[in-house]
Amino acid sequence: MSTEHTPKEYSIFQIAINLTITCFISGIIIAGVYFISHPVAVKNAAAKEMETMQVLVPEADKFTPIEGEEDWYAAEKGGETIAYVVPGETKGYGGKIGMLVAVNADGSVIDYQILVANETPGLGDKAGKEPFKSQIIGKTSDHLVVTKDASNKEDVQAMTGATISSKAVTKGVKEAVDGVVEYVGGVK
């Protein structure tokens, strides 16, 4: 929709250079902003992760990355490892659910937090909240199974209308717990 009425002729070079210059300038701008913002972003992200872990394991005073296992942390209190914070991932009703799970050395769940999820608000997203959460806390791998039988008090009761999310979250936590148990060497 250019306003000139007669099309002009341009050489290949003219056209190409036009876009190149634009991109060059764009690159400079992006690079500049990146240069300033990137360190901040990295710092914030790290701080946030620490914060999350602190919430999960409030007693801990330090979190140290565990070597060999990506994104695993050992929660330490006074230099002693009291728990492990490990990432978990499963597939729920609305797709991927990512979470952080804090596991005791004895293989019981301390707490967990859902970081990324696309579960239905009001239904599946209750899996990260009470009262569902308190069902999971304290359980060990054996009892991290979802049941719909109301009389079964041992296992995890499915949330009404959101069995899929219940199962998914429970499975994610269970896998994290199993991982920790294996890492620690089968401590029971």
Partner: protein, 336 residues
């Protein structure tokens, strides 16, 4: 307009033909209402007070919304033709008997105002209004829509889930257990003494109503036969494969159960036959019914919901304009 009152001295002049059959839209609609009535009354009796409340709320609100929309749009009010009554009735019949009555009203608002009149009113809607209403309630309040009361009238069918739900979650054996034995189960399904939506349980009354409609030629027999047949055959073949208690192999399904459970009978006789939302030619209707049958089975066996009739009909409704396009009647004297 220039229309002066018709003048007795002058003759009426219109284009031929000058005689018409006695069928009318309201006659058809009210007949369908009457054919549904026995099953609805049974539901009211069997499920008790709240069910009655839902039925009344559904019908009254549907009629009211239709009246209100037509008043607001300054169109001739046609609530007397019974189509809104029918939509309200069908909607209510497809709701669980424990639902709070006001949710029914929300459902009929969506059915009448959004699904029917936003698209231009009777005859223009693409989707089955009652099913849109039900599907909307289903996503809005999934918990309320899938909560079933414990039955009080018949002592031995105490269960808080619908048979299909039990089948999906616990398997066929558990299902039969809830009824005691297999013949008890079929009897309950046939007579309607089981858990389920208000109007969908009583197979025998629904079939009788449907047969009357077929006799009156208000619906084509092919539609319910093909839809029910497809579901029967497919569940027979594949039904055993997905039992939660472990695969039972091919041809191990329970077609009779699948046919009478859930909303298939009411769906096949009364909702897959809603002429407004299905293809016009017989050929198209058979495609529609077969497709709806396949979808029903897919949803029941593979999907997240225990019951699939409502969604299968809606999904086929989406395809109806396309089917209509490709299934025009064969014209007389077409070459080749």
């Amino acid at each position: 307009m220039a229309e002066v009152k018709s003048n007795k001295e002058l003759f009426n002049v219109s284009v031929s033909p000058h005689i018409r059959s006695k069928e009318s839209v309201s006659k058809i609609m009210w007949t369908v209402n009457i054919c549904l009535a026995p099953a609805a009354l049974f539901g009211a009796y069997y499920f008790g007070l709240n069910a009655i409340l839902i039925l009344v709320a559904g019908v009254v609100s549907a009629v009211f919304f239709e009246w209100a929309v037509q008043k607001i749009r300054k169109k001739p009010v046609t609530v007397k033709d019974g189509s809104a009554f029918l939509t309200g009735l069908l909607l209510a019949m497809c709701l669980p008997p424990t639902l709070p009555w006001w949710m029914t009203i929300v459902g009929s608002f969506i059915a009448i105002v959004i699904a029917k009149h936003a698209m231009g009113g009777l005859g223009s809607n693409i989707f089955n209004p009652a099913h849109i209403g039900r599907a909307a309630l289903m996503v809005s309040w999934p918990v309320a829509m899938t909560t079933w009361s414990k039955m009080t009238t018949a002592a031995d069918v105490v269960s808080s889930a619908t048979p299909l739900n039990v089948l999906k979650m616990q398997g066929h054996e558990a299902l039969i257990d809830t009824f005691g034995n297999a013949s008890n189960m079929y009897q309950a399904l046939f007579l309607g003494t089981r858990n389920g939506c208000i109007g969908e349980t009583c197979t025998v009354l629904l079939v009788l109503g449907g047969l009357f409609l077929i006799y009156k030629k208000y619906i084509n027999w092919q539609v319910p036969v093909v839809m029910i047949g497809t579901v029967g055959i497919l569940t027979w073949i594949f039904g055993g494969l997905v039992d939660p208690a472990g695969s039972l192999g091919f041809f191990a399904g329970d077609p009779l159960f699948h046919i009478m459970a859930g909303g298939l009978i009411i769906g096949a006789f009364f909702m897959a036959t809603d002429m407004v939302t299905i293809p016009m030619t017989i050929k198209g209707q058979i495609i529609f019914a077969a497709g709806a049958g396949v979808m029903t089975v897919m949803i029941r066996l593979l999907g997240g919901y225990p019951e699939g009739v409502c969604y299968s009909i809606l999904l086929m409704n989406c395809l109806t304009p396309l089917i209509d396009r490709f299934c025009q009647p064969k014209k007389f004297g077409a070459r080749g």
